[in-house]
């Protein structure tokens, strides 16, 4: 328990260890710890940001979905409308076509009637002419009585 030069020896040990730790131990470790702290903070803020981004993305997705649904229903409505229109148009077309066909048939019938009437008229005029020839006993000059014959035919 004597006080002696051990004091000096121990003080030298102490100084050596403290200087060693000050130079080679503390700076790298505290730097690493500081960096890790920063890294963790960055990671946490990144996680926060990701969470916010997720919420935004979800909102966007749901709004997109809603929009898409609206658009789809609009398209369906339009399609329905268009279909109705087409059907309507087809009906109209069919009706007009039918009318046209009827008209055409009517006009053909009319033409037929006219032609038949014309032929009949011709025949009648010829008949009349031959009758008249026979009655008159002589030949009627077709050119001379053309006017007359035509009037007759018109009257028929």
């Amino acid at each position: 328990m004597n006080i002696n030069a051990t004091l000096i020896g121990q003080a030298i040990w102490f100084a050596l260890f403290v200087i060693f730790c000050m130079k080679f131990v503390w700076p790298p470790i505290s730097k690493a710890l500081e960096e890790r702290k920063q890294k963790i903070a960055e990671g946490l803020s990144a996680a926060d940001r990701a969470e916010r981004d997720l919420v935004l993305a979800q909102e966007k997705a749901s709004s997109n979905l809603k929009e898409a649904k609206e658009k789809a229903s609009e398209i369906i409505e339009q399609a329905n409308k268009r279909a109705n229109q087409i059907v309507e148009e087809a009906k109209d077309q069919a009706r007009t076509e039918g009318e046209r066909l009827i008209e055409k048939a009517q006009s053909e019938i009319d033409q037929e009637i006219n032609r038949a009437r014309e032929e009949l008229r011709k025949e009648v005029s010829a008949l009349a002419l031959s009758g008249a020839e026979q009655v008159l006993g002589r030949e009627v000059n077709r050119d001379a009585h053309k006017q007359l014959l035509d009037d007759l035919a018109a009257q028929l």
């Binding site: 006080i3 100084a15 060693f20």
Partner: protein, 304 residues
């Protein structure tokens, strides 16, 4: 175990392995009290008994204390260095995690108490805490283990007498070790004060506090009183710091030695409960030494 042999056993366990200078004409005695040799010149040698260690005066080293303190310190520094070399911002492995938790603990203590900027105080606190802890920890090794090993080695290979094979493995039970550390801390206190307040500030703190006055005459009348008080308060810090650690560890060691002296081979049974209590003392004393160092140094830097 007879009373005389028990007291001899205890004395032997409390003696340090001392290497020092014996003066010219010194009469060396063996353990029976007979003169063995008279030194013709002053000689550096190992002390053969307690009286020789005393007679060596200041020029003596406690080889066991210094070797154990230095060895433990080197082991500590190596472990720190291993961690420092591999320190990354990534995920730490088991051992690194453990060391980093110690370092963070010390760092928090420093940050809580010391508000100045210093590159020294954090590593200083780390070294104090870990080193004192390791030195105290040697207390838990059975008291006879290393001394008996040492005695056997020295007697077998170096032809020593068993009586001169002193060996103490707990450096902090040696007041030289604790006082050397605490007076180093005192030097740092002075250094920190001078750095923070200038040399004039340091002298002023010694001379014009705690009794302050604006009257110039009174100031110089109070100067001797202040000087005495402040010098005592400056010196009492390292003395109390070193003696507190020494006293606690010495008392703990003493109990272990007493238990060993009483129970002999069965000391393990008797020493175990005390060892369990002592774990607390070991950690607490290391912590107290560190915290007080930080407190003293922050007091040195801050205005008060």
């Amino acid at each position: 175990m007879a009373a005389s042999s028990a007291s001899e056993y205890i004395k032997h366990h409390l003696g340090n392995l001392t290497y020092g200078r014996l003066p010219e004409g010194y009469e060396r005695l063996d353990h029976h009290g007979d003169v063995v040799e008279t030194l013709e010149t002053s000689t550096w040698t190992f002390a053969h008994n307690g009286q020789e260690a005393v007679d060596m005066g200041f020029m003596a080293f406690h080889v066991d204390s210094l070797a154990w303190a230095g060895g433990l310190g080197i082991i500590m520094c190596l472990m720190f260095w291993l961690v420092a070399r591999k320190a990354t911002a990534g995920v730490p492995s088991g051992f690194m995690n453990f060391m980093e938790s110690i370092i963070e603990f010390v760092d928090n203590q420093v940050r809580d108490t010391f508000h100045g900027k210093s590159k020294l105080i954090a590593p200083l606190s780390l070294v104090i805490f870990c080193w004192v802890f390791l030195m105290n920890l040697m207390d838990l090794i059975p008291v006879d283990l290393f001394p008996k090993l040492f005695e056997w080695t020295m007697v077998t290979f170096f032809g020593w007498d068993a009586h001169q094979a002193y060996f103490k493995i707990v450096p902090t039970t040696d007041p030289n070790i604790t006082l050397a550390m605490s007076f180093s801390v005192m030097l740092l206190i002075i250094g920190f004060t001078v750095k923070a307040k200038g040399f004039g500030g340091f002298v002023g703190e010694l001379a014009f506090k705690p009794f302050e006055t604006d009257n110039i005459v009174l100031k110089f009348l109070l100067l001797p009183v202040n000087l005495v008080l402040e010098t005592i308060s400056l010196l009492s810090k390292p003395v109390s710091l070193g003696l507190r650690l020494f006293g606690n560890m010495y008392a703990g060691e003493f109990v272990f030695i007493l238990v060993a002296a009483m129970m002999g081979t069965w000391q393990f049974i008797g020493a175990w409960p005390w060892a369990v209590f002592h774990i607390l003392v070991i950690t607490l004393q290391a912590f107290i030494f560190m915290v007080l160092t930080i407190v003293y140094l922050s007091m040195a830097v801050e205005e008060h």
